[in-house]
Symmetry: D2
Amino acid sequence: MRRPAVVKAAVMPAPNVPLEVREFPVPELEEGAILLRTLASEVCGTDVHLHHGRLAGVPYPLIPGHISVGEILAVRGAPVDVNGGALRPGQVVTFLDVHETCGRCWFCTVAKASTRCPRRRVYGITYAAAEGLLGGWSEAIYLKPGVKVLPLPESVPPERFIGAGCGLPTAVHAIERAEIRLGDAVVVQGSGPVGLTAAILAQLSGATQVIVVGAPALRLQEAERIGADAVINIEEMPPEARVARVRDLTGGRGADVTIEASGNPAALTEGFAMTRDAGRYVVVGQYTDAGDIRVNPHLEINRKHLEVRGCWGTDFGHLWRGVRVLEKHGERFQWERFITRRYGLGETNEALEDVGQRRVVKALIAPGQSGMNSS
Amino acid sequence: MRRPAVVKAAVMPAPNVPLEVREFPVPELEEGAILLRTLASEVCGTDVHLHHGRLAGVPYPLIPGHISVGEILAVRGAPVDVNGGALRPGQVVTFLDVHETCGRCWFCTVAKASTRCPRRRVYGITYAAAEGLLGGWSEAIYLKPGVKVLPLPESVPPERFIGAGCGLPTAVHAIERAEIRLGDAVVVQGSGPVGLTAAILAQLSGATQVIVVGAPALRLQEAERIGADAVINIEEMPPEARVARVRDLTGGRGADVTIEASGNPAALTEGFAMTRDAGRYVVVGQYTDAGDIRVNPHLEINRKHLEVRGCWGTDFGHLWRGVRVLEKHGERFQWERFITRRYGLGETNEALEDVGQRRVVKALIAPGQSGMNSS
Amino acid sequence: MRRPAVVKAAVMPAPNVPLEVREFPVPELEEGAILLRTLASEVCGTDVHLHHGRLAGVPYPLIPGHISVGEILAVRGAPVDVNGGALRPGQVVTFLDVHETCGRCWFCTVAKASTRCPRRRVYGITYAAAEGLLGGWSEAIYLKPGVKVLPLPESVPPERFIGAGCGLPTAVHAIERAEIRLGDAVVVQGSGPVGLTAAILAQLSGATQVIVVGAPALRLQEAERIGADAVINIEEMPPEARVARVRDLTGGRGADVTIEASGNPAALTEGFAMTRDAGRYVVVGQYTDAGDIRVNPHLEINRKHLEVRGCWGTDFGHLWRGVRVLEKHGERFQWERFITRRYGLGETNEALEDVGQRRVVKALIAPGQSGMNSS
Amino acid sequence: MRRPAVVKAAVMPAPNVPLEVREFPVPELEEGAILLRTLASEVCGTDVHLHHGRLAGVPYPLIPGHISVGEILAVRGAPVDVNGGALRPGQVVTFLDVHETCGRCWFCTVAKASTRCPRRRVYGITYAAAEGLLGGWSEAIYLKPGVKVLPLPESVPPERFIGAGCGLPTAVHAIERAEIRLGDAVVVQGSGPVGLTAAILAQLSGATQVIVVGAPALRLQEAERIGADAVINIEEMPPEARVARVRDLTGGRGADVTIEASGNPAALTEGFAMTRDAGRYVVVGQYTDAGDIRVNPHLEINRKHLEVRGCWGTDFGHLWRGVRVLEKHGERFQWERFITRRYGLGETNEALEDVGQRRVVKALIAPGQSGMNSS
């Protein structure tokens, strides 16, 4: 395979203006760096927020795309994977979008909360296009030295991995915080990629009843396909009826664990009511500021003996564990079926629109369709 | 000691009307029951709420007083303590106010959350005066069969135990939920009996910095006496300044763990801001419905990776552990000094008024002063 | 249905002498008691030990059979299930064999370790035949007041429940101690009923690789049937080779979690070597004293940063959770296929022999075949 | 302060031959490196084992001394502390002896067990003298780029820190594994520096009864000084009597938690018997291979429902938390009093002999006494 002369990438110039495809020179590799030919990237809800300017401190213009799969085109030096194995051209890999967590600050070393490390950077979100090919909506991705690379098992096709997408490590993290036990009833609020994968992982973590509350019908069909015991369509029922339905399905007590993956602040009020006394509530859907809700500390927290756990970001362990799940349960859950449509680099505006309108479950970006392979 | 002919007790006839001292016959004991001569009982914040009619489902008229110390006057059958030791007349004991948790329902057996058992009853709160001498503001207390009795070690005088009062098992429970680690910085919001004992127990659980946020000065002096590293008087500083002060004291990060023991819903907003990212927040002060607050799920829970834990009620283990702490650390912390004033049975209205106005830290009810001893 | 005139039961008169079928009068019910017509009981490894006299303090003669399913023949008073539902004649139920845990002693209240309650009694093991029909190898079982009864869902046939048997709550408890995480590799040592159900529950708790080490071939076929990723036959490979095989299957590191369910002390040495550094090892198979092993605290515990967790007995929560699993995953795992053979009351000696020689995976005792139904 | 021309250091040439003082050139600093003037280092039990050749893979000759305090003589580049503060000449600091944990391997990222990282190196143990001034028994210490440096608070004199020594982070780690709760009874086996600091930290973590089992009298006096509720001298009582004494002191049940810090394999047998059913046992003293013991899996682990946790190595969080404890509780516990004697660089053989013979509690190495300060 010859290295291309130029690399095309979709660039988001600023909030609320259309993305455009630009050309970049093929970068020189510094010691320990890797160049990937992008096989597939994804659009996630955060990309929509990014385009609407709802995230603070984003260095526009940038190349979006945080979770991607690529084939190694070139390496410099001797980068290794987590098991110490050499990384070589031709391998199909993914990588942790989160980079530069320092491993030395108080959050990394004492609190052991690397997702709150102040030096944390994220591919496709916090790097400017001027800093390099640091997003997945591009024919090629530059992996800086130290980026944590994970070879994809042969049994996990790139499409399956992208069907899960960034929702996979996010849901793994949420499930860890959820501490589900054998026989638990679990409610998942939200039927986007995070919610759907959380509904899968809840089943794989011992829940014997999983109820997905979301919309639209397209997504709830997927919820049923992947094994949800019940789905509740929020477009068909007001909140009180949804709560009543969950209580009815759970012997009157409510769910042992509820996982919020909706992005709607009002979901908390509804979700608290869906959760049993002395239960657990995980908040993983509130990745942008969508406003406040009213909470009654006596009724909803103290007397209820409720535990509420926020869940921010992911680390390499979540990605690694997620890929183990894909490897084992890929045929059973077929995450690639979450991909409603594939988009080339020139179609990213349409992709963002479709995700924002929930017309698709998952949108795959296929930069290779624009021709880099043949150059 | 002869058994008295009648027993005097303070009865709360209904919400918002004065208590009055009434006479009751000395009860016959059923098999396994115990009669205590009350040495001391207490007034806690819940009693004030009880008097204001803020608790649901209370069977007025009732005899208040949930945590008490007494001397065994009589037993019927062979009741035993937790170690299987016989309980005998003359012993000084306390007992768990919570009774009739069933040990058989789903909450008791599967969820292991006995504080949410639907059959749970509480001395001094959920028993009517017509059901018997089932509150501590009485010369005698009737311990029903199965009430969990704990002999007080000789090194723990009744006054010291009542100085800690129901705040002791409550704070033990809150501290269990708090999971403090060696070297942690802990904020306690509220300087009443629960808050003060939580501030003690935080020190005993590994915190190397404890900051008490409360009022009035009388209570904060107690906080300083029992070893708080810093106190913040909410009467002297607006909320933003209080938050800034905590951040300043904690290297800019906020506390690792915050324990809310204030009863004020607004404390949550302030307390979230006082807590570091990926920290823990325990809600133990919201025992009555004092209204809602606004919460921003993105900023205050999800992005903050915060854990919020409600804490309702206590079980026998909390009481047992609390008494171990009194036995070991009684001389160091001298909980009896929380008792600002002692009140006879005829002075309970004044006691409630003083507690409600926070004119005292702790009010002790001394039923024996009304003469039963001499009968 | 008419109540029978006499009840036949298999009685173990003493260690190492044959069981015999005896007749008992139909008992009168005390308040709160229940009489079951036994539909099925089981033989477990403990019954073999019981017959060999290897358990201390057993009151021979006794009626064995601790986990059973029956139909309610009669109740006295108003016994209820865990959800407060009335128990009525005609219902098919199981019950927790463990009884009389006191809920009042130090282990029950403070340590919250009811399996170490000194008053604990167990149906089929610690009750003498003279005390009543307190074992399952009998046409009828007398449920004393307070025995925790669990109605079997209609979707769980008695044979499926008995196929899982006492291995189900035991494995649930072991899995709780194991704290498996998504993506973990788990080794199960032992392919008897506890080991096989542990291998199922490990899959349901997030493990993506489950390796069963056991014998004979009959049991390992069952292990493969229920989804083990690999099996290792101890009759075909020496211990060092088994360890090497596990390491080979786990990328050289060993299993994240190993569950010992073999009953052989030497399994610990082998199992420690099969477990990765900083892994977890659960000991659930050592229910009788089969001797000592040598342990090197430096190499096997300290330097390895290993966690070893003993697991004794079960409580109602384990049984309840186990039945939820049967209800949800019964068709997938078909526990009834563990039942290699069914035995009437007159065939219990043969059943014990077959279980002891591992000629069967699970032996079902069917007392009803001896005719009580028709009486 | 001028930089010295040569640096004197005590070198251990090989196992079982005397150490000798050698001269080294003052090193050039690479980018990010720091040069310390050593104020104090320590002798720990591991150094004795090192001298006896009991550790595998040690690159003799080497400069011992893993935990040390020094004054920054020089920095190159802009190294920072955990809070991002610049490190400057004149500051008094300590540092984590453990270095080069990679933050990228499976143990670091997925298992989150950095103490099992295969690339882990340790100052004073795994670095050869030929690699530089990488041990504390030297007038100067070379801190490689990335060594985790912790400024010592002014309220913590170097002698106090060294009195605690490497036993401090080790005991912090052991206490984390111990999960002590308020009111627990804790046994500590071993009265060397790890045991004594564990006895302190147990008190600070909620234990209301701490029993130290060890020898000789000198060390047990220290145990009493720092607040042990009881001490048991193993030179005065056989193991059975020691176990009986612990049971007697703990109401017949044994300790809730036992921490083994003795280094003697036989301590496990004794310690298991000292621990209550369903208790916890932490193994932190077995840092070298001192042989096997016999364990009965039925009696000592399974039936006992015991949890045994090995504890290997430390990370920066343990050191940081330990220093917080010194800062808060230094005056109360006065760790410097563990230092029985101070030794110059020419006296290290004597120091090793004294530690090996337990003639001292803690031995401080004071390299500065050999004259570097004045050069």
